[in-house]
Symmetry: C2
Subunit: 361 residues, 2 copies
Amino acid sequence: MSKRAFNFCAGPAALPTAVLERAQAEMLDWQGKGLSVMEMSHRSDEYVAIAERAEQDLRDLLAIPSNYKVLFLQGGASQQFAEIPLNLLPEDGVADYIDTGIWSKKAIEEAQRFGNVNVAASAKAYDYFAIPGQNDWQLSKKAAYLHYASNETIGGLQFDWVPDVGETPLVVDMSSDILSRPIDVSQYGLIYAGAQKNIGPSGLVVAIVREDLLGRARSSCPTMLNYKVAADNGSMYNTPATYSWYLSGLVFEWLKEQGGVEAIAKVNRTKKDLLYKAIDASDFYSNPITHNARSWMNVPFRLADDKLDKPFLAGAEARGLLNLKGHRSVGGMRASIYNAVGLDAVEALVAYMAEFEKEHA
Amino acid sequence: MSKRAFNFCAGPAALPTAVLERAQAEMLDWQGKGLSVMEMSHRSDEYVAIAERAEQDLRDLLAIPSNYKVLFLQGGASQQFAEIPLNLLPEDGVADYIDTGIWSKKAIEEAQRFGNVNVAASAKAYDYFAIPGQNDWQLSKKAAYLHYASNETIGGLQFDWVPDVGETPLVVDMSSDILSRPIDVSQYGLIYAGAQKNIGPSGLVVAIVREDLLGRARSSCPTMLNYKVAADNGSMYNTPATYSWYLSGLVFEWLKEQGGVEAIAKVNRTKKDLLYKAIDASDFYSNPITHNARSWMNVPFRLADDKLDKPFLAGAEARGLLNLKGHRSVGGMRASIYNAVGLDAVEALVAYMAEFEKEHA
């Protein structure tokens, strides 16, 4: 038996042990066929069945309506930052963007290279500790879409509401909170997510696109970046990232076995409540985010004295609590507690935090 | 022990059993760290060491000069078909392309969307059974680059020579023959290869770029498609396909253990000689490609009567000889005999072919 650590990495992040065990068992010989999934033609009956099963499980988990296509793409969310305007923003149009932190700013900067961007609201006014309410947004009269990031992985800032912008399609970067709690897909025009947090290995991006938004790509859009081309070819215009797609399918199966998104949301709520409670109950630890915008998935926190950061991290690692160091732009600590990070991991972290505080406060 | 079949798939293709065994052993717990490689931050010391080791091993295997960058990208060769003109073809420039089959034609069609393309030569004149000699090429006076595919995976047509176009940078799609035999990297401006034949799993592309070709991208080039951005960030502008990169590194290590590219080239020569000899010695099997353009990696062949295709494939599968069906555009059979397909696999195939011929001729 391997000893598995508690892994709080922001991404690539922990995967369910059961998923890795199954991948391990099937590595050399998938279901007696004598070859690995990564050695299969993407056009083979066996692989197509794996790919379709993964898509169907994701559709079941999120209750994706039939007028949405599910795409399995590559290049990470960063490539989507260009694909979105190339597919959805007419050259003479304007797109609204909400700035809530580092990732939404990156999306804004890339979109500005391709057209008119209106930053309708920015959390900068609140030092990125709160999300501006919709009453304060300066929306365009006729935006091609509104883009926002539902969860900022670095800042630890998450929307607990869905913007209401009428007929304007909502485009949302859900990289770090997709599948963590229920959503109503029909509220969105385009949902996209890099896989490496709640879905699977890095190198895969899942996009869920409302069909009426397909076919609007600019003539200058590279074929591989055109959503309609991907949709028309079942994400197999060329060879997709077959093994990552398969692993994502195993994660979807695992999530169904856990009871689906509603069940995992309950666990996620318990986890984040436990951790924020521990932070708030102490003068030794702190998290600056306003309560209704605190992320369920990424919990940054500081120690009262940052000279204690190093011993805190060393002690954590000695206990098998890995990757708690905060992003360099924020400092301090960050615990990413995605679906595959169990309640036992958060309990171990909270116990260690109490112990460390007792010793050093 | 798993029973491993002989897998002649054109791609995603067979991987060395030893590589899969190592990946299997390390799946849940890499070197006692308590987590899988696919759960590691790409910025962690452990993962950076894995990534750098893979790059160095590839540099050793191909003796890549220090003025070349090695990039680990995504999107397959098809995304490169757009990236190449976006990075290397000025809007008022012209690029020369050689058409030798389906893949080089796809590269041409995509490039035409971004600028002036001169198809300097086409194998169409020979029904794609031979490669036009360089004396017959109609080169542009001042091409930004010359593009060709060193091996056509579907047609089974391979250059056994390197074009000499003076100062014009050579851009080559080596997806299906990289690492199969020695090359002189310094003859090229840009070498690129989808990983899923001789490198690793699909979803990864390796590009080897001469440094003076960096920094020429058009302003309309998406950031993620800009070679200079990838080079300046060690292929980590955003999260790369970490697990595929790691697996590719295991393949590079394995290839070094086999004695490197020169040693594997000897095996590859023996394999292809054995298979073509079996085809040529018989009136029952045929391959139409002119001898000096026959691919070492992809060997298409036909049976005298295509009514026998089905029984041939069924008999092959019963013997654990998988994925011999030819591409739908060519018909017949195709045996892809990449590095990871051993001499024993080709011997088993040739034995089966003789047996089948005896029964059905």
